[in-house]
Protein backbone atom coordinates (compact mmCIF):
# COMPACT_ATOMS: atom_id res chain seq x y z
CA UNK A 1 0.00 0.00 0.00
CA UNK A 2 1.40 3.35 -1.03
CA UNK A 3 1.40 6.46 1.19
CA UNK A 4 -1.18 7.95 -1.14
CA UNK A 5 -3.72 5.17 -0.56
CA UNK A 6 -3.01 5.22 3.19
CA UNK A 7 -3.74 8.92 3.34
CA UNK A 8 -7.06 8.35 1.53
CA UNK A 9 -8.12 5.69 4.08
CA UNK A 10 -7.09 7.97 6.96
CA UNK A 11 -9.07 10.83 5.49
CA UNK A 12 -12.19 8.67 5.03
CA UNK A 13 -11.90 7.36 8.59
CA UNK A 14 -11.49 10.87 9.93
CA UNK A 15 -14.64 11.97 8.06
CA UNK A 16 -16.67 9.04 9.47
CA UNK A 17 -15.47 9.77 13.01
CA UNK A 18 -16.26 13.44 12.53
CA UNK A 19 -19.86 12.87 11.36
CA UNK A 20 -20.63 10.25 14.03
CA UNK A 21 -19.37 12.64 16.72
CA UNK A 22 -21.38 15.48 15.20
CA UNK A 23 -24.57 13.36 15.18
CA UNK A 24 -24.03 12.30 18.79
CA UNK A 25 -23.55 15.89 19.92
CA UNK A 26 -26.53 17.12 17.87
CA UNK A 27 -28.80 14.53 19.54
CA UNK A 28 -28.19 16.21 22.95
CA UNK A 29 -28.65 13.02 24.97
CA UNK A 30 -28.00 14.95 28.20
CA UNK A 31 -31.05 17.17 27.54
CA UNK A 32 -33.63 14.34 28.06
CA UNK A 33 -32.81 14.02 31.71
CA UNK A 34 -34.46 17.38 32.42
CA UNK A 35 -38.29 17.55 32.19
CA UNK A 36 -39.58 20.44 30.16
CA UNK A 37 -41.22 22.83 32.64
CA UNK A 38 -43.83 23.70 30.02
CA UNK A 39 -44.95 20.04 29.84
CA UNK A 40 -45.14 19.84 33.63
CA UNK A 41 -47.22 23.03 33.70
CA UNK A 42 -49.56 21.65 31.04
CA UNK A 43 -50.03 18.39 32.97
CA UNK A 44 -50.85 20.33 36.15
CA UNK A 45 -53.28 22.52 34.24
CA UNK A 46 -54.95 19.44 32.74
CA UNK A 47 -55.45 17.90 36.19
CA UNK A 48 -56.84 21.14 37.57
CA UNK A 49 -59.27 21.47 34.66
CA UNK A 50 -60.41 17.86 35.11
CA UNK A 51 -61.13 18.50 38.79
CA UNK A 52 -62.96 21.72 37.98
CA UNK A 53 -65.04 20.10 35.23
CA UNK A 54 -66.06 17.27 37.60
CA UNK A 55 -67.11 19.85 40.17
CA UNK A 56 -69.06 21.85 37.59
CA UNK A 57 -70.74 18.66 36.40
CA UNK A 58 -71.83 17.87 39.97
CA UNK A 59 -73.23 21.38 40.39
CA UNK A 60 -75.08 21.20 37.08
CA UNK A 61 -76.55 17.79 37.97
CA UNK A 62 -77.69 19.04 41.35
CA UNK A 63 -79.28 22.15 39.82
CA UNK A 64 -80.94 20.09 37.10
CA UNK A 65 -82.35 17.74 39.73
CA UNK A 66 -83.64 20.77 41.67
CA UNK A 67 -85.25 22.04 38.51
CA UNK A 68 -86.92 18.68 37.89
CA UNK A 69 -88.24 18.66 41.47
CA UNK A 70 -89.72 22.11 40.96
CA UNK A 71 -91.17 21.05 37.61
CA UNK A 72 -92.76 17.91 39.05
CA UNK A 73 -94.25 19.93 41.93
CA UNK A 74 -95.58 22.53 39.50
CA UNK A 75 -97.10 19.79 37.32
CA UNK A 76 -98.74 18.30 40.40
CA UNK A 77 -100.20 21.69 41.30
CA UNK A 78 -101.47 22.16 37.75
CA UNK A 79 -102.98 18.68 37.70
CA UNK A 80 -104.76 19.40 40.97
CA UNK A 81 -106.02 22.76 39.73
CA UNK A 82 -107.22 21.37 36.41
CA UNK A 83 -108.90 18.23 37.72
CA UNK A 84 -112.67 18.82 37.74
CA UNK A 85 -114.26 17.96 41.06
CA UNK A 86 -116.67 15.61 39.28
CA UNK A 87 -113.94 13.71 37.44
CA UNK A 88 -114.77 10.02 37.43
CA UNK A 89 -112.13 7.94 39.18
CA UNK A 90 -111.84 5.60 36.23
CA UNK A 91 -110.11 8.19 34.08
CA UNK A 92 -106.52 9.16 34.64
CA UNK A 93 -104.80 12.10 32.99
CA UNK A 94 -101.38 11.25 31.71
CA UNK A 95 -98.25 13.24 31.16
CA UNK A 96 -97.72 11.17 28.03
CA UNK A 97 -98.88 12.47 24.64
CA UNK A 98 -102.20 11.45 23.15
CA UNK A 99 -102.54 7.93 21.83
CA UNK A 100 -101.88 8.63 18.10
CA UNK A 101 -98.53 10.24 18.89
CA UNK A 102 -97.67 7.56 21.42
CA UNK A 103 -98.61 4.74 19.06
CA UNK A 104 -95.90 5.97 16.68
CA UNK A 105 -93.39 5.10 19.38
CA UNK A 106 -94.68 1.57 19.92
CA UNK A 107 -96.36 -0.79 17.50
CA UNK A 108 -97.09 -4.48 17.19
CA UNK A 109 -94.59 -6.39 15.08
CA UNK A 110 -94.03 -9.95 14.05
CA UNK A 111 -90.44 -10.24 15.17
CA UNK A 112 -88.66 -12.32 17.77
CA UNK A 113 -88.25 -10.21 20.89
CA UNK A 114 -84.85 -8.86 21.87
CA UNK A 115 -85.99 -8.39 25.47
CA UNK A 116 -89.19 -9.09 27.36
CA UNK A 117 -91.21 -7.03 29.79
CA UNK A 118 -92.70 -8.94 32.68
CA UNK A 119 -94.33 -8.12 35.94
CA UNK A 120 -91.87 -6.21 38.07
Amino acid sequence: MTDHVARLYALALALVVFFVSWAAVAARPWATAQADPRVAALAARQQRLQRESALVQQIVQARYADYRVALARRQAQLATARRPRSQPLASVSTAAPAAPVASAAVRIVNLPPLVITRTS
Binding site: D66, A79, L89, V92, A95, A102, V106, V109, R118, S120
Partner: protein, 273 residues
Amino acid sequence: MILRRRFRAMNTEVELLLDPLPGVESESVFVAAEAEFHRLEALLSRFRPDSELSRLNEAGELATGPELREVVALAIAARERTGGRFDPTVHDALVAAGYDRSFERVEADGPARPDGAACSGAVEIEGETIRLGPGVRLDLGGIGKGYAVDRACDVLAAAGPCLVSAGGDLACRGGSWPVGVTDELTVDLTRGALATSGRDRRRWRSGGEERHHLIDPATGRPAESELVRATVWADTAAEAEVLAKAAFLGAEVDVPRVLVTSDGRTLVEGGLA
Protein backbone atom coordinates in the same frame (compact mmCIF):
# COMPACT_ATOMS: atom_id res chain seq x y z
CA MET B 1 -73.73 -5.20 16.84
CA ILE B 2 -75.83 -4.97 20.00
CA LEU B 3 -73.80 -5.27 23.21
CA ARG B 4 -75.42 -6.56 26.39
CA ARG B 5 -74.61 -6.27 30.06
CA ARG B 6 -76.58 -8.08 32.79
CA PHE B 7 -76.38 -7.56 36.52
CA ARG B 8 -78.61 -7.62 39.56
CA ALA B 9 -79.82 -4.50 41.35
CA MET B 10 -82.96 -3.35 43.14
CA ASN B 11 -83.81 -6.98 43.70
CA THR B 12 -84.29 -7.67 40.00
CA GLU B 13 -82.38 -8.59 36.88
CA VAL B 14 -81.15 -5.54 35.00
CA GLU B 15 -80.18 -5.71 31.35
CA LEU B 16 -78.39 -2.99 29.39
CA LEU B 17 -78.41 -3.12 25.59
CA LEU B 18 -76.27 -0.77 23.54
CA ASP B 19 -75.71 -0.31 19.83
CA PRO B 20 -72.45 1.62 20.24
CA LEU B 21 -71.46 4.51 18.03
CA PRO B 22 -68.15 4.00 16.18
CA GLY B 23 -65.15 4.56 18.41
CA VAL B 24 -67.13 4.50 21.64
CA GLU B 25 -65.56 2.81 24.66
CA SER B 26 -68.64 0.77 25.60
CA GLU B 27 -67.19 -0.83 28.73
CA SER B 28 -66.89 2.48 30.57
CA VAL B 29 -70.50 3.49 29.83
CA PHE B 30 -71.75 0.07 30.93
CA VAL B 31 -69.84 0.49 34.18
CA ALA B 32 -71.25 4.01 34.63
CA ALA B 33 -74.84 2.88 33.94
CA GLU B 34 -74.53 -0.04 36.38
CA ALA B 35 -73.04 2.29 39.00
CA GLU B 36 -76.03 4.59 38.53
CA PHE B 37 -78.38 1.73 39.44
CA HIS B 38 -76.44 0.81 42.57
CA ARG B 39 -76.15 4.46 43.61
CA LEU B 40 -79.89 5.05 43.30
CA GLU B 41 -80.69 1.77 45.07
CA ALA B 42 -78.56 2.95 47.99
CA LEU B 43 -80.68 6.12 48.11
CA LEU B 44 -84.17 4.76 47.47
CA SER B 45 -84.38 1.26 48.96
CA ARG B 46 -86.72 0.80 51.91
CA PHE B 47 -84.86 -2.40 52.81
CA ARG B 48 -81.56 -0.68 53.52
CA PRO B 49 -81.59 0.95 56.93
CA ASP B 50 -78.92 3.43 55.86
CA SER B 51 -80.69 4.59 52.70
CA GLU B 52 -81.91 8.16 52.53
CA LEU B 53 -85.48 6.86 52.19
CA SER B 54 -85.19 4.67 55.30
CA ARG B 55 -83.81 7.61 57.27
CA LEU B 56 -86.72 9.73 56.10
CA ASN B 57 -89.23 7.01 57.04
CA GLU B 58 -87.57 6.71 60.43
CA ALA B 59 -87.40 10.43 61.19
CA GLY B 60 -90.58 11.62 59.47
CA GLU B 61 -88.76 14.75 58.35
CA LEU B 62 -85.40 15.01 56.65
CA ALA B 63 -83.34 17.42 54.60
CA THR B 64 -82.54 15.22 51.62
CA GLY B 65 -80.55 15.26 48.43
CA PRO B 66 -82.19 16.42 45.22
CA GLU B 67 -82.80 12.96 43.80
CA LEU B 68 -84.93 11.66 46.66
CA ARG B 69 -86.88 14.91 46.51
CA GLU B 70 -87.33 14.46 42.77
CA VAL B 71 -88.65 10.91 43.08
CA VAL B 72 -90.95 11.88 45.95
CA ALA B 73 -92.21 14.86 43.93
CA LEU B 74 -92.88 12.56 40.97
CA ALA B 75 -94.75 10.16 43.27
CA ILE B 76 -96.88 12.93 44.77
CA ALA B 77 -97.70 14.24 41.29
CA ALA B 78 -98.60 10.71 40.22
CA ARG B 79 -100.92 10.31 43.20
CA GLU B 80 -102.72 13.46 42.11
CA ARG B 81 -102.95 12.43 38.48
CA THR B 82 -104.19 8.92 39.17
CA GLY B 83 -106.80 9.98 41.71
CA GLY B 84 -104.92 8.10 44.40
CA ARG B 85 -104.56 4.79 42.59
CA PHE B 86 -100.82 5.20 42.70
CA ASP B 87 -99.75 6.13 46.19
CA PRO B 88 -96.23 6.16 47.64
CA THR B 89 -97.60 5.94 51.19
CA VAL B 90 -98.48 2.24 50.90
CA HIS B 91 -95.37 1.28 52.89
CA ASP B 92 -97.23 0.14 55.99
CA ALA B 93 -99.88 -1.68 53.94
CA LEU B 94 -97.11 -3.63 52.17
CA VAL B 95 -95.50 -4.49 55.48
CA ALA B 96 -98.88 -5.52 56.90
CA ALA B 97 -99.45 -7.76 53.88
CA GLY B 98 -96.16 -9.53 54.64
CA TYR B 99 -93.80 -7.76 52.24
CA ASP B 100 -91.65 -6.51 55.09
CA ARG B 101 -88.27 -7.57 53.81
CA SER B 102 -86.47 -7.98 50.50
CA PHE B 103 -88.71 -10.19 48.38
CA GLU B 104 -86.42 -13.24 48.18
CA ARG B 105 -86.64 -13.41 52.00
CA VAL B 106 -90.42 -13.15 52.21
CA GLU B 107 -91.91 -16.45 53.39
CA ALA B 108 -93.64 -18.20 50.50
CA ASP B 109 -96.31 -19.50 52.87
CA GLY B 110 -96.24 -17.60 56.11
CA PRO B 111 -98.60 -17.43 59.08
CA ALA B 112 -101.76 -15.36 59.00
CA ARG B 113 -101.41 -11.75 59.98
CA PRO B 114 -103.84 -8.86 60.09
CA ASP B 115 -103.42 -6.80 56.98
CA GLY B 116 -104.70 -3.48 55.76
CA ALA B 117 -103.23 -0.14 56.67
CA ALA B 118 -104.19 3.44 56.00
CA CYS B 119 -102.76 5.07 52.89
CA SER B 120 -103.05 8.57 51.38
CA GLY B 121 -100.92 10.10 54.12
CA ALA B 122 -99.54 13.63 53.95
CA VAL B 123 -96.23 14.22 52.21
CA GLU B 124 -94.77 17.69 51.82
CA ILE B 125 -91.64 19.01 50.19
CA GLU B 126 -90.43 22.35 51.43
CA GLY B 127 -87.08 23.58 50.23
CA GLU B 128 -84.66 20.73 50.81
CA THR B 129 -86.85 19.06 53.42
CA ILE B 130 -89.37 16.26 52.98
CA ARG B 131 -91.95 16.06 55.73
CA LEU B 132 -94.24 13.07 56.29
CA GLY B 133 -97.51 13.10 58.16
CA PRO B 134 -97.78 11.26 61.48
CA GLY B 135 -97.17 7.55 60.97
CA VAL B 136 -96.65 7.94 57.22
CA ARG B 137 -93.87 5.98 55.56
CA LEU B 138 -92.99 5.84 51.88
CA ASP B 139 -92.37 2.97 49.51
CA LEU B 140 -90.72 4.09 46.28
CA GLY B 141 -89.97 0.59 45.01
CA GLY B 142 -91.72 0.73 41.65
CA ILE B 143 -91.30 4.37 40.75
CA GLY B 144 -87.74 4.31 42.05
CA LYS B 145 -86.90 1.45 39.72
CA GLY B 146 -88.48 3.32 36.81
CA TYR B 147 -86.49 6.42 37.75
CA ALA B 148 -83.28 4.38 37.84
CA VAL B 149 -84.06 2.94 34.40
CA ASP B 150 -84.50 6.47 33.04
CA ARG B 151 -81.26 7.72 34.59
CA ALA B 152 -79.25 4.69 33.43
CA CYS B 153 -80.70 5.21 29.95
CA ASP B 154 -79.48 8.82 30.04
CA VAL B 155 -75.98 7.55 30.83
CA LEU B 156 -75.96 4.91 28.09
CA ALA B 157 -77.48 7.18 25.45
CA ALA B 158 -74.24 9.12 25.16
CA ALA B 159 -72.68 6.02 23.62
CA GLY B 160 -75.42 5.21 21.11
CA PRO B 161 -78.95 3.85 20.76
CA CYS B 162 -79.73 1.89 23.90
CA LEU B 163 -82.34 0.11 25.97
CA VAL B 164 -82.37 -0.48 29.72
CA SER B 165 -84.59 -3.16 31.20
CA ALA B 166 -85.10 -3.77 34.91
CA GLY B 167 -87.64 -6.49 35.44
CA GLY B 168 -90.83 -5.10 34.02
CA ASP B 169 -89.62 -1.56 33.45
CA LEU B 170 -87.72 -0.69 30.31
CA ALA B 171 -86.85 2.45 28.38
CA CYS B 172 -84.99 3.18 25.17
CA ARG B 173 -83.16 6.07 23.55
CA GLY B 174 -82.96 5.78 19.79
CA GLY B 175 -82.96 2.57 17.80
CA SER B 176 -85.72 0.04 17.35
CA TRP B 177 -86.24 -2.62 20.00
CA PRO B 178 -88.61 -5.60 19.71
CA VAL B 179 -90.02 -6.21 23.19
CA GLY B 180 -91.94 -9.33 24.15
CA VAL B 181 -95.09 -8.39 26.06
CA THR B 182 -96.70 -11.84 26.13
CA ASP B 183 -95.68 -15.16 24.63
CA GLU B 184 -97.60 -14.26 21.46
CA LEU B 185 -97.28 -10.48 21.35
CA THR B 186 -94.19 -8.46 20.49
CA VAL B 187 -94.08 -4.68 20.14
CA ASP B 188 -91.43 -2.53 18.53
CA LEU B 189 -90.34 0.25 20.87
CA THR B 190 -88.65 3.23 19.20
CA ARG B 191 -89.20 5.89 21.86
CA GLY B 192 -90.24 6.13 25.49
CA ALA B 193 -90.75 3.31 27.95
CA LEU B 194 -92.84 0.28 28.84
CA ALA B 195 -93.74 -0.99 32.29
CA THR B 196 -95.67 -4.02 33.44
CA SER B 197 -97.51 -4.37 36.73
CA GLY B 198 -99.34 -7.49 37.79
CA ARG B 199 -100.03 -10.15 40.34
CA ASP B 200 -98.39 -13.04 38.48
CA ARG B 201 -95.08 -12.44 40.26
CA ARG B 202 -94.01 -11.20 43.68
CA ARG B 203 -96.82 -13.06 45.39
CA TRP B 204 -96.89 -15.21 48.51
CA ARG B 205 -99.34 -16.83 50.89
CA SER B 206 -100.19 -15.63 54.34
CA GLY B 207 -102.34 -17.90 56.50
CA GLY B 208 -103.31 -19.80 53.37
CA GLU B 209 -104.50 -16.64 51.64
CA GLU B 210 -102.77 -15.42 48.51
CA ARG B 211 -101.13 -12.00 48.72
CA HIS B 212 -99.30 -9.88 46.17
CA HIS B 213 -97.35 -6.64 46.15
CA LEU B 214 -99.84 -4.35 44.39
CA ILE B 215 -101.68 -2.56 47.15
CA ASP B 216 -104.99 -0.85 46.47
CA PRO B 217 -104.62 2.42 48.40
CA ALA B 218 -108.39 2.60 48.79
CA THR B 219 -108.42 -0.56 50.96
CA GLY B 220 -104.82 -0.80 52.10
CA ARG B 221 -104.84 -4.47 51.04
CA PRO B 222 -103.48 -6.33 48.00
CA ALA B 223 -105.64 -5.22 45.09
CA GLU B 224 -108.41 -7.39 43.75
CA SER B 225 -108.44 -6.98 40.00
CA GLU B 226 -109.85 -8.77 36.98
CA LEU B 227 -106.44 -8.30 35.42
CA VAL B 228 -103.44 -10.51 35.82
CA ARG B 229 -101.16 -7.82 34.53
CA ALA B 230 -101.05 -4.55 32.62
CA THR B 231 -98.30 -3.33 30.29
CA VAL B 232 -98.34 0.39 29.53
CA TRP B 233 -96.32 2.76 27.34
CA ALA B 234 -95.26 6.25 28.48
CA ASP B 235 -92.57 8.82 27.82
CA THR B 236 -90.48 7.69 30.79
CA ALA B 237 -90.15 4.46 32.75
CA ALA B 238 -91.16 6.22 35.98
CA GLU B 239 -94.35 7.45 34.32
CA ALA B 240 -95.03 4.04 32.71
CA GLU B 241 -94.64 2.37 36.11
CA VAL B 242 -97.26 4.72 37.59
CA LEU B 243 -99.69 4.21 34.71
CA ALA B 244 -99.23 0.43 34.71
CA LYS B 245 -100.17 0.32 38.38
CA ALA B 246 -103.16 2.61 37.78
CA ALA B 247 -104.27 0.48 34.81
CA PHE B 248 -103.98 -2.68 36.90
CA LEU B 249 -106.26 -1.05 39.47
CA GLY B 250 -108.86 -0.34 36.79
CA ALA B 251 -108.08 3.19 35.62
CA GLU B 252 -108.48 3.97 31.94
CA VAL B 253 -105.12 5.40 30.95
CA ASP B 254 -105.00 7.10 27.57
CA VAL B 255 -101.82 5.48 26.29
CA PRO B 256 -100.98 2.30 24.37
CA ARG B 257 -101.47 -0.65 26.68
CA VAL B 258 -101.79 -4.44 26.81
CA LEU B 259 -104.00 -5.97 29.49
CA VAL B 260 -104.06 -9.66 30.35
CA THR B 261 -107.24 -10.77 32.13
CA SER B 262 -107.79 -13.54 34.65
CA ASP B 263 -109.66 -15.59 32.05
CA GLY B 264 -106.67 -15.50 29.70
CA ARG B 265 -107.73 -12.77 27.27
CA THR B 266 -105.18 -10.27 25.96
CA LEU B 267 -106.63 -6.81 25.35
CA VAL B 268 -104.68 -4.42 23.12
CA GLU B 269 -105.85 -0.85 23.66
CA GLY B 270 -104.93 2.85 23.46
CA GLY B 271 -104.17 2.98 19.74
CA LEU B 272 -101.62 0.18 19.83
CA ALA B 273 -101.72 -1.66 16.52
